[in-house]
């Protein structure tokens, strides 16, 4: 083994490196993707639980039919948040402050509309979680996803508040971008569930 002394060590000068980045270059992006992987696995297991307990019933769904309108409207509202989210994510990625703040505000407002419609959707569920295993899975899935979108909406508010401070840190761009990534997940993870719950309920 060569016994190196520190004076002998060659050096690599990194003083010229940028002090900021966005997108998959940043650790936060990787952390967010891993968080999405964890939550996706949770939702996938719930999805499979629905399919698993279905085998135990002769008639499916066993309880009263879900009402299509509130569920469909909530889904539509969630999908409506996607275009402004794409726009503010792109602006954050390109470090354009103005459009980023504008579209984030629009997306935040729409996310609250979807939360409000979700409350209506929950109120319109015609059975309690205690009715059957089917009811338990439906309530738990909707509950978990509601927690997801409420968290996302509150995070958007937090970002908006930060963007109105007089001093904006450079890392805000990556924070906003990662927030958009998480919101995309929150919207798209619901589509298979909505399809399963409502299409089955309607086609019975």
């Amino acid at each position: 083994m060569k016994d190196l002394q520190h004076d002998d060590l060659p050096v690599l000068d990194l003083s010229g490196l940028p002090r900021h980045a966005t997108g998959l270059r940043t650790p936060l992006w990787w952390g967010t993707v891993l968080l999405i992987a964890i939550e996706s696995t949770c939702f996938a297991i719930l999805f499979n639980t629905y399919l698993y307990v279905r085998n135990n019933f002769d008639e499916w769904p066993p309880d009263e039919r879900l009402h299509l309108l509130p569920g469909a409207l909530c889904c539509a509202a969630l999908l409506l948040t996607v275009p402004p989210t794409i726009l503010y994510r792109r602006a954050a990625h390109d470090e354009r402050f103005g459009p980023m703040r504008r579209w984030l505000i629009v997306a935040t407002a729409l996310s609250f509309v979807s939360v409000a419609l979700r409350v209506w959707e929950i109120q319109a569920i015609p059975f309690l979680w205690t009715g059957s295993a089917y009811a338990s899975v439906v309530w738990t899935s909707i509950g978990m996803h509601t927690l997801e979108i409420v968290t996302g909406a509150v995070e958007c508010v937090f970002m908006c508040v930060i963007l109105f401070r007089p001093r904006i840190e450079m890392k805000t761009f990556e924070d906003v971008e990662s927030s958009a990534l998480f919101w995309f997940f929150s919207v798209f993870v619901w589509l298979p569930f909505a399809g399963l719950f409502y299409v089955e309920a309607v086609s019975r």
Partner: protein, 639 residues
């Protein structure tokens, strides 16, 4: 302390010192990976001792037929708490603790990717462990087994709070494990030293990386399962209630989808340590670096495809059983590849016979036996014969103690100089190694024979006519030298903190980057960032050092080739992870008693997260008006 990378060397862009606060505040707020890792290791070893005491009490009860050391109710609580402790409070956290301490040092990072998250992970883990033992001492310890099978664990057959305590323990520990896993993955991918490309990572780092990915995909299963169990018990859902369309087997699928990978989550870091010790002891590069890495990855992938071998006795379709038998036998191949690579590395070398290598030799013998009985259990006819007997108890202890605890003892002995700046006593180390090895085999080998003679698991006593008394007595006699060996090891560690010989930077003449730093390493702000140009940088001498990085700055590199990418400001230490963990603990425990625990807890957690993430105004910033004016020219304003 002759480190290759001297932290006293000047670095550029040194920023202002943070405000001084009280030492208690500093202690609670620290985000140093070395402090967090050390806390994980020490706390996990504390729970190891508690779990060991419970095991000794159980062995005393089983030493002879119709003994009265413990009653059935207390026995149920003890075996459940013992299993839960060893799996959730000891084995996973101690391996993750070693990862938290050593992965950043081994890849040349100054700190973790998310140091505050690391701090949160420790506190939530600690609170979970305290919660379990306070429950046990107040006669509310979980009593339905560490796997909490329904319907036994359901609301009808287990009224009261005992199973709820188990379900909430899962929430505590899995939150912690997931936080650490995310941290280790991102640290490995994005904070490697320049030149530390993926094909140069030390095997322990690879093992830690692969394990962390397994945690990410396995732990959600048990979180959802324990959540559904808690909902069944607390608010009347019917996930596992067959009367309302639920399914008891659903629990087993969810649990073992987590539970089987959990075995590999526990011992993959252990065999990563074995690779490090073998390389260091033989003083030659690992034979078959790439096959060993691929074996780790293959083990992780296969581990998700064989959970059903825990359920052979539930009446599966034959085709399904055959598939899972095949997968279970298949997984022996990557582990076999690693064994042969270690043998090839050692072949013809003159390995240094020091204590870490002694534990590796003990690992070879015991883990091999555990692996072979694993292949036996993969076969459906044998599995059905010995299902739920002590044969399975013997097998799982040979795998877990053989695969994780011997390497862990070896790993801690190997890295103790780096952890503390002191050397462990060799004499006490060999004594501990011998006692643990002899005691372990005396305690657990007879359990194979008991299982083959039909002794079921989880019984608190048995009749003299069964003929199980002799081997149970032998097993109990063996448990004491095993426990004594563990205590000698811990005594050695405690004593050497003060009286151990001072350790040099690299007392074993090892190859990886952690040994280029002083023992113990400097605080992260003063930690120099190396440049690695080979797989064994300290042996090849191809080592450099980064300059132009401020004390509060952290280097981010590219995921695969580790080329320097950009620099970020290191997060300040803060007490908010501690407060968030307190709020989370309040929520988890309150939910046991009232549904209002959830909204109140979520509100408290939200407030603490708001404070946690509120800008510190220490990061580089830009002027908003300037930015707004120059929107049309984004490049202009990014400077």
């Amino acid at each position: 302390m002759n480190s290759v990378l001297d932290p006293a060397l000047p670095t550029a862009n040194t920023t202002t010192e943070p405000r001084r606060r009280s030492s208690v505040y500093d202690w609670l707020a620290t985000t140093e990976h070395t402090a967090i890792g050390r806390r994980f290791i020490v706390t996990a070893l504390g729970f190891f001792v508690l779990g060991g005491v419970l095991a000794l009490l159980m062995r005393l009860q089983l030493a002879r037929p119709l003994a009265h050391v413990l009653g059935p109710d207390r026995y149920n609580q003890l075996f459940t708490t013992h299993g839960s402790t060893m799996m959730f409070l000891f084995a996973v956290p101690v391996m993750q603790g070693l990862g938290l301490y050593f992965v950043p040092l081994m890849v040349g990072a100054k700190n973790l990717a998310f140091p505050r998250l690391g701090s949160f992970a420790f506190w939530i883990y600690l609170f979970g462990g305290i919660f379990l033992y306070v429950s046990l001492l107040s006669n509310t310890g979980p009593d339905a087994g560490w796997f909490s099978y329904v319907p036994l664990a359901g609301p009808e057959h287990s009224p009261g709070k005992r199973v709820d305590v188990w379900a909430q323990l899962i929430t505590f520990t899995e939150l912690s494990a997931l936080s650490v896993a995310v941290n280790l993955i991102v640290t490995t991918f994005k904070h490697k030293a320049p030149g530390m490309s993926l094909d140069r990572l030390p095997i322990f780092v690879w093992a830690s990386l692969v394990t962390s990915f397994m945690v990410v995909f396995a732990m959600p299963a048990v979180i959802v399962a324990s959540g559904c169990l808690a909902l069944d018990r607390l608010v009347g859902t019917h996930f596992f209630n067959p009367a309302e369309g639920g399914d008891a087997l659903l629990w087993q699928h969810m649990f073992w989808f987590f539970g089987h990978p959990e075995v590999y989550i526990i011992f993959l870091p252990g065999i990563g340590m074995v690779s490090e010790i073998v390389v260091t002891a033989s003083r030659r590069p690992l034979f078959g670096y790439v096959p060993v890495v691929l074996a780790n990855v293959a083990t992780a992938i296969l581990a998700f495809g064989l959970w059903v071998h825990h359920m052979f006795a539930t009446g599966l379709p034959q085709l399904g059983a055959s598939f899972f038998t095949g997968a279970s036998i298949l997984i022996a191949i990557p582990t076999g590849v690693q064994f042969f690579c270690w043998i090839a590395t050692l072949w013809g070398s003159r390995p240094a016979l020091r204590v870490p290598f002694g534990f590796v030799l003990a690992f070879f013998a015991t883990f091999l036996i555990g692996g072979l009985t694993g292949v036996m259990l993969a076969s459906v006819p044998i599995n059905l014969q010995v299902h739920d007997t002590f044969f399975v108890v013997a097998h799982l202890h040979y795998v877990l103690i053989g695969g994780a605890i011997f390497p862990m003892f070896g790993g801690i002995t190997h890295w103790y100089p780096k952890l503390t700046g002191r050397m462990l006593s060799e004499r006490l180390g060999w004594l501990a190694c011998g006692l643990v090895f002899v005691g372990f085999n005396l305690a657990f080998f007879p359990q194979h024979l008991l299982g083959l003679r039909g002794m079921p698991r989880r019984i608190y006593t048995y009749l003299p006519e069964t003929g199980w008394g002799f081997w149970n007595l032998v097993s109990t006699v063996g448990a004491f030298p095993l426990g004594l060996g563990a205590l000698v090891f811990l005594y050695n560690a405690a004593r050497s903190l003060r009286s151990g010989a001072r350790a040099e930077a690299n007392p074993w003449h090892a190859h990886s980057l952690e040994w280029a730093l002083s023992s113990p390493p400097p605080p992260s702000r003063d930690c120099p960032v190396p440049v690695a140009s080979s797989r064994y940088p300290l042996w090849s001498g191809e080592l450099g050092r980064v300059v132009g990085l401020g004390r509060d700055e952290v280097l981010v590199t590219r995921a695969v080739d580790a080329d320097p990418d950009h620099v970020v400001h290191a997060p300040e230490p803060t007490i908010m992870p501690f407060f968030t963990a307190v709020c989370t603990a309040v929520m988890i425990i309150a939910c046991l008693f009232t549904p209002w625990g959830l909204p109140v807890g979520v509100t408290l957690i939200s407030i603490s997260l708001f404070i946690w993430f509120w800008p510190t105004d220490r990061e580089p910033a830009f002027d908003t008006n300037h930015r707004l004016r120059d929107e049309a020219n984004p490049r202009e304003v990014t400077r």
